[in-house]
Structures are given as structure tokens and as C-alpha cells.
Amino acid sequence: MNLSVLMPVFALMTSLLASVVLFALPEKGHRLRTIINLAAAILKIALVGVMIWGVAQGCKYEAAFTMLPGVEFVLRADALSMLFAGLSALLWLLTTIYAVGYLEDSPNRSRFFGFFSLCVASTMGIALAGNLFTFFLFYEMLTLSTYPLVVHRGTTKALRAGRNYIIYTLTGGAVLLFAIAWLHGLVGDLRFQEGGYFSDIAPSMRGPLAIIFVLMMVGLGVKAALVPFHGWLPQAMVAPAPVSALLHAVAVVKAGAFGIIRVVFEIYGLEAAKDMGLLAGLSVVAAFTIIYGSTRALYQVDLKRRLAFSTVSQVSYIVLGLCLLGPVGVAGGLVHLVHQGIMKITLFFCAGNYAETLGVHRIDELDGAGKRMPGTSVAFTLGAFGMIGAPPLAGFITKWTMGSGALAVGMDWVVAVLVISSLLNAAYFLPILHRLWFAEQCEPWPHERRWGRLETSAWLLWPPLITAALMLVAGLIANLPFSPLSWAELIVAREVAL
């Protein structure tokens, strides 16, 4: 076996093995657990970094074996998988650091970090999956490994949210499995392939394929929180902040969006999906979700809940981008996979910091928090402006690219959707920023903790500062190679012949 086969396996195994070890560790082994966690995360970043470099040079990394006759297990690193794997590896490290600080002195850390690693292993598997079957395997593994994280606190509310989550996602998974099996019956085992398979499909096949497409979108749309399948997401925010951060930025919603990308690009093919009229419907759903999520966010008083509805809205940018049938627009959608991840994780880290340091959960309790916690608030401010799409932050690059792409193919209404969404984002983020920086603190903080000289624990402070900086950098150097935008353009150039 040579290295090109082993690399994707190694990338997957780092977190899988870490998870096994972490489960086995005694509850008290705090230092050892942290070391294992961080070592695994850093190792994974290194592995993914090497693969990104290799993929840019045109290397192929693939490991495959036959599980059953006609069903293969395929792990493969291509440009698209690296977009997701890179995001996931990077944010895993930061979230691990954050989680170590966040869960200080709380019970059941062994269980938490074990499932946490398992969850990341699943995302890595989703990123590297080379066919629908492998994808589905990890997709379900993700559901099962995130459930214990959502209910980690064990409160009634958490258990109810968890039950809701599991009902939604398992049903979605069942629908997806049904669709995959049907497709398998029709055309056999399909590896993900550039340009897809159905560009010159017989007319008689179109009907079933269209139904399968819809079923797949439903199955994947549950995790991607497309309206009307988004109900679980705002409830799941009862989870601890690092879990919410991971859920909203990398793991669950992104898994859905990433699956949609894979199916549209590499099973159906953009052209075929467009010819069958499938993308028009999808784009309408995505556009509706964008507006709906933002509108709902406007009325939330709980900070994390507002952020959750914002996620509903923002993830659909990715889906909408795919439906812009030109290279520019598609790149705009793809790059948002990364951009939304770093922006939203910043915001959730910050929300966690306010909760953990000041005991603040509601937006109207945030008055004057900028003075007490300037570092966190700067990160939050950058994240919020990124979400609004203000230049030069990452969100602007997305919006600009998608807008240009939409105009290039004559889909002007998409620009209107983007503008309305930006206005709504401004309407629900700017008042928070006003409270942070310009309102005077009226009441004492609900539940304040002190960490000496710093505004909060360094473990909690640095991750949002780093992701905020990344978001700024991703926007500022969008034109350089290896920036998220350049990578998305590389994917489009390689994978989608438009």
C-alpha cells in the first residue's frame, strides 16, 4: 500500500482512534485527555494540509474495497472533499481548545470528548466519502454521535431537543437511504464523478430520477435545515456552546449542504439537473429558506436562538449558489461552505463566552458587554459584519461572487434575495452591536465569573479571536492561491464543466 492510499485512511483514523482512547480514559485524566485531543487535532490538520497541497498539484488519494458485491467502500480526497475536510480539521482544533476551557470542572468529560471526536471523524468521513454508500454510512454515524452531545447536559429541555433532533435526522436518513437504494437499483453503484452521470440519460429514466432527486434533497435537507425541515436546529441550541458551534459551523448542517453539493455535482451533474428542471425548484426552496430564517431570527430574544435561525438562513446560501448555473455563482456557493463555517463558529464561541463569563443569554442583557469583554466583542462584531456581508470580510466575498454569478446567468432575482437577506441580517445584528458598544450597563451581570487579568479564560478567548482573524483574512486575500475563494474556483474549474 502506498501513501496515496493511506492518507485518507489516516485522516479518518486520527479522530476515530482518538475517540476510542478518550472513551477509555478515566474521568480524572484531564491533562492527558487534553493532550490527546490537541495532538490528534494537530496531526489531522497536518495530514489534511499535505493532502490539500497534493490535490492542488494533481495527486490522487483513494482507498477502496468491496463490502458486498456491487457495494464499495470508497475514501477519496479530491478538491471538493478538501474544502470540507480542511474546514473541519481547522475548526476541530479550535473547538477542542474552546471545549476544554468551556467544560472545565463539568462532569462526564470523558464521554463528551469521546463523542466529540467521533463526530469529527464522521465529518471527515463525509468529506472523504467517494460514493453515496460511504457517504450515507458516515452521515448516519454523524447523527448518532452528535445526539449524546446535544443532550450532554441531561436537562429535560436538552432531552426533548435531543429527541426532536433524532426524530428529524433519522427520518431524513431513512428517506435518504431509500433514495440511495432506489438509485442503486436503477443504475448500480455510482462513485462520485466530475460532471455527474446523467447528462445524456434516456427520457424514460427522467421521471424516477427526478423523484429520487427530490427524496435525496429531503433527506439531506433535514440536516442542511432547509425549510420546512429546519425545526430541530433552533431547539438543538440547548447544547453546550462548543457543540452548537460545531453543529452550526461544520458538522451537521454542513454535512447536509455538502451532500447536496455532491449529489448535484457528481451524481446528477449540474447540466442534467438543470435540464430536468430540478434546480429551479431547489433554488426557490433555498431562497425561501434564506428569507424565512432571517425573518425568524429578527424576533428571537435569546442570543443563541437568534444565531440558530441565522444559520438556517445562511446555509441556504450554499444551496442557492449551486443553483446559479455558472462558474462564478457556483464558486460563490461553495466558498460559503467555508466562510459561513468560520463566521458562525466565531459568533457561537462569543455567545458561549458571554454565557460562561457573564451568565448572559438574552440579547437585552448584553448592554455594555463590549467594555467588560472587549476581545470577545470585537470577534462578535467582526462575525456579525461578516454575516451582513460587509466588505472586506469573508461574507462579502460570498455575496459579491454569488451576486456576480447570478447576474451573469440572468438570475437577477437572486440579487434581490441577497439584498433582502443582508438587510435582515443588518436588522438583527446591528442592534446587538449597539448594545455591546454603546449602551450603558444597567444591571449587574446575571452570573459573573472572574479570570484574573483576562476578560475570560484564555481557552475561551483565543478561539473566537483566531476565527475572527481568519474571517478577515479569508476576505482580504481572496485573490491569492489557497484562499477559500481560489480553492472554490479550482473546484469549479476541475469538477464542473460548464
Partner: protein, 492 residues
């Protein structure tokens, strides 16, 4: 060439780097004294670099290009001078109340304002514009009063709406041009199928900043409530960013658009006269000055309309607009700063101060041998009805004269309300310095600043004598009206 590139970069990097001073609370006093230093590289760039200076930053955003041209040079000199004067003034003006926060927002707004002048690619231009807009909110609401917060809300709501219009307009223009450079936009917009929509979006979007009538509501609320040095830059420099936005994106010199010319001339006339009508009713000096800014921007809108209406005259009109921008920015900056100056105890000192406060105001209304006279003469020279063919062209001279009367009325009103608002006492030395710098640049330095080449006023010390009457009669008329009004109020 290398050094010149560095200077452009430094003009932006220095303000941004100064944000490091905000890292620790006990550095805030040092930060305060750094404020005047921040615009210096930009000023140096504006004064020493030629109009061809440019700097490519291929990795920045979607491909960056910064640089100057004749128009930008004038804008840069004005912007940097005014931020310098206001920065010096701020050192003396600022209290300890949220000092660090003020310095941060000041710096960010300054960086945005300078950056948008030198940005030549769409993405950086829009980035700097947005930075200035959003950071400017921090200056508007700084005092934290109910009034300031309300003004801030209106400011932000209109600014965000404006940003969206600009974004959409720029997206469409860039799509049409297939280029991310501002220089390629006017030609592309001229050719576009949906030219009217692009122009409408850009005019409205930038019009919010420029205080175009009906888009101006935020302006008389926001400019006065900000701390005085911030009011000065808001009304002197930042308001011009909207104008610059028009000048660099609309299809000037490409096609003659008499329809748009008419619309803008009407809006300009409404702005210049309506601003005065609304302004004279206000009792607070800064509010009167804010309306005066709307009125003055109206006159500039008049020129923008004429330049749109006749492509041939766009070039020379740009030069005159540049001249006017420089003149108005410095004079208005000086006037705003003077609102916070306390009068000295001695009588002669008081008189001297009043004269120095009044002079930039008189300059606004075109007193001979002031910057205002020079710009007004240059403007009149160009806006002769025979040069233009659009419907409203014959009324241009009358509108300009009416504008001059309106301006002078506002100046009298300002002096009147300022007299009741002002106290006596000592001013910190930095306030004297800042105000003095603005006033001197408005009255004297103006003549030595780099003028746009095409705005030559032929043999003008002589010509000013010839045209003295045309300059003076609006001032006299307005003075008579003010005197009558004052008497009638006194008798009541």
C-alpha cells in the same frame, strides 16, 4: 516610484496600525495624542505624489489597485487636511468619557474615508466606503444621549439601505464592464441595457451620503449630535465621499444624458434652496451648519447634473467640482470647529474671533478674494446656458445666484444663533491649533494647495474686480433680508 507606492500603503496602514494602541486601557491618553498623526502620510501623498501614482495589490480582495488621479488628489488633500485639523482639535476637545472607544471609531472612519479616495478597484472602494459608513456610526452616537441614539438609528438605517443600493449598482456595473476596476465602469454603464437602473441605484446609494434631497433626513440629525471634531469631518469630508462615488462610477464624458441632467439639476436646486429654507428655522448652530451642507451639496449636484447632461463639459466640470469640494470642505470644517470655541474675555479678542469665525462663512457665500469667490467664478464660467442644451440649462445662472443668497442667509443665521450659544472662557491650546489650522487652510492655504489643472481662473485677481459686483450683490441682498428679519423678530 517604489517610495510613492509605500506612501499610499502607509496612508492606510498607519491608521490601522494605530488600533494597537487600543489594546490596553492605559494607553488611551497616548492614543489621543496620536490622532493628528494618522492622516499625515495621506496628506503627504496628496501633496507630493503626482496624479499618476498607483499601487497594485493583486492579492487584496478580488484584485486591488490603489492610486491617484487629478480628481482624487484634490479629494485626498481635502480629506487629509480636514482630518488633520479635526484630529488636532479633538486632542483638546475630548473628555475621558469613552476616550478609547472614540479613538477607535475615529481611526476606522478616517481609514475608510482616506481609503475610498485612493481605491481604484471596486472591491476596495466599496470596502473603504462601508468601513467609513459603519465606523461613522460610532462617532454619531458617541455622546450616548437619547437624541444621539435616535440620530444614529436613522443614520444607520439609511446608510444600510444606501449600501445595498450601491452594492447592487456596482454589481450590475461590474458585470457589464467585465472588470473590477472603477476606471472601466463609466463606459460600461453608458453602454448598459439597463443604464437607467444602474444609474438610479448608484445615484440613490451615494446620494444618501451626499445628502441628496429626500435622502437627506439622517444628515441634519446626525451631523450636529456628533462630538464637534467628528461633525467637522462628517460635514466637510465624509459627505464628499458620496459625491466622489458619483464621479467615479457614473458615465461622465461618455454620453450626454439631458434627462438625468434635468433630474439632478432639479434635485440640486431643491437641495440648495430647500436646505436654506429648513435651516434658517433651527436654533442650534451645528444644525444650521448641517443644513448649509445640504444646501452646498445641492450646488455641487447642480454641476454633477450639468456634467451628465453634456459629455463635453464633464472634464472641465470635474475640475471645478474638485475646486468646490476643496473650498467647501475646508470652510465647513472650520465653521463646525468654531462652534465649540469659547470667546476670549477681551473685547478686541472677541471681535477678532468673530471675524475669523465669520470669514469662512463669507467665503462660502463667495466673498471676493476667498476660496468661495474663486470656485463660484469658475463655476459660473462653465455653467453658461449657451454651453448646454438640456431643458433647465437657461436657469442655471439664476439658480446659482439664488444659491448664493441662500448660503449667505444661512451664514447669518449661523452667526446669530452662535452668538447666543457661545460662552466665554479659555480654550485648550489644541483646540486653538486645530481650529486655526482649518481656518488658515480655508482662507490662505487654499491658494497654495494643488488645484485641478483645468480649473484655471483666467488672470483672476483682475477678473475678481470685474466680477466683484456679481459676487457681492447676493451677499448684500441676503444681509438686507437678514437685517429685516432680525428687526422684525426683535420688535415682536
Amino acid at each position: 516610484m517604489f517610495a510613492s507606492n509605500l506612501l499610499l500603503l502607509l496612508a492606510i496602514i498607519l491608521p490601522l496600525a494605530s488600533l494597537l494602541l487600543a489594546l490596553r486601557p492605559d494607553w488611551q491618553q497616548a492614543y489621543r495624542y496620536c490622532l493628528p498623526v494618522l492622516p499625515l502620510p495621506a496628506l503627504l501623498a496628496g501633496l507630493t505624489l503626482g496624479p499618476d501614482a498607483s499601487l497594485e495589490l493583486p492579492g487584496l480582495l478580488l484584485g486591488g489597485l490603489w492610486g491617484l488621479n487629478e480628481l482624487r488628489q484634490v479629494f485626498l488633500v481635502l480629506t487629509a487636511t480636514l482630518w488633520l485639523a479635526a484630529g488636532v482639535f479633538a486632542v483638546g476637545y475630548l473628555k475621558v468619557h469613552y476616550l478609547r472607544r472614540f479613538c477607535v471609531f475615529w481611526t476606522l472612519t478616517l481609514a475608510g474615508n482616506l481609503g475610498l479616495v485612493i481605491a481604484q478597484d471596486v472591491a476596495s472602494f466599496y470596502s473603504f466606503f462601508a468601513l467609513m459608513t459603519f465606523a461613522g456610526y460610532g462617532l454619531v452616537v458617541h455622546e450616548g444621549s437619547k437624541e444621539a441614539n435616535r440620530a444614529g438609528r436613522v443614520y444607520l438605517a439609511m446608510a444600510v439601505a444606501g449600501e445595498m443600493a450601491i452594492l447592487t449598482g456596482l454589481l450590475m456595473a461590474v458585470q457589464q464592464a467585465d472588470s473590477g476596476l472603477l476606471a472601466d465602469l463609466p463606459a460600461a454603464v453608458a453602454q448598459a441595457d439597463r443604464r437607467w437602473l444602474i444609474m438610479f441605484l448608484l445615484l440613490a446609494g451615494f446620494g444618501v451620503k451626499a445628502g441628496l434631497p429626500l435622502l437627506h433626513f439622517w444628515l441634519p440629525l446626525a451631523h450636529p449630535v456628533a462630538p464637534t471634531p467628528a461633525s467637522a469631518v462628517l460635514s466637510g469630508a465624509m459627505i464628499k465621499a458620496g459625491l466622489l462615488g458619483w464621479l467615479v462610477t457614473l458615465p461622465f464624458g461618455e454620453v450626454s444624458l439631458p434627462g438625468w441632467g434635468n433630474v439632478l439639476v432639479i434635485l440640486g436646486a431643491v437641495g440648495s434652496l430647500g436646505g436654506a429654507v429648513l435651516g434658517v428655522r433651527h436654533r442650534r448652530p451645528k444644525a444650521v451648519l448641517a443644513y448649509s451642507s445640504i444646501s452646498q451639496m445641492g450646488l455641487m449636484t447642480l454641476m454633477v447634473g450639468a456634467a451628465l447632461a453634456n459629455a463635453e463639459y464633464a472634464g472641465p466640470l470635474f475640475a471645478v467640482i474638485g475646486l468646490y469640494v476643496l473650498h467647501h470642505g475646508l470652510a465647513k470644517g472650520s465653521l463646525f470647529l468654531s462652534t465649540a470655541m469659547a470667546l476670549p474675555a477681551g473685547r478686541s479678542g472677541q471681535w477678532l474671533l468673530w471675524v475669523l469665525v465669520a470669514l469662512p462663512g463669507l467665503s462660502l457665500s463667495g466673498l471676493p478674494y476667498t476660496s468661495g469667490a474663486a470656485s463660484k467664478l469658475a463655476m459660473k464660467e462653465l455653467l453658461k446656458p449657451e454651453n448646454f442644451e438640456f431643458a433647465l440649462a437657461p436657469y442655471l445662472p439664476a439658480l446659482m445666484s439664488a444659491g448664493a443668497v441662500a448660503t449667505m442667509l444661512l451664514v447669518w443665521r449661523f452667526l446669530w444663533v452662535q452668538r447666543t450659544a457661545v460662552g466665554t472662557g479659555n480654550n485648550p491650546v489644541f483646540m486653538w491649533l486645530g481650529w486655526g489650522l482649518a481656518t488658515i487652510s480655508s482662507l490662505v492655504l487654499f491658494w497654495f494647495l494643488p488645484w485641478p489643472r483645468e480649473a484655471s481662473v483666467p488672470g483672476w485677481p483682475g477678473s475678481m474686480v470685474h466680477s466683484a459686483w456679481s459676487l457681492v450683490w447676493p451677499i448684500l441682498l441676503a444681509t438686507i433680508i437678514s437685517a429685516v428679519a432680525w428687526r422684525s423678530v426683535k420688535q415682536r
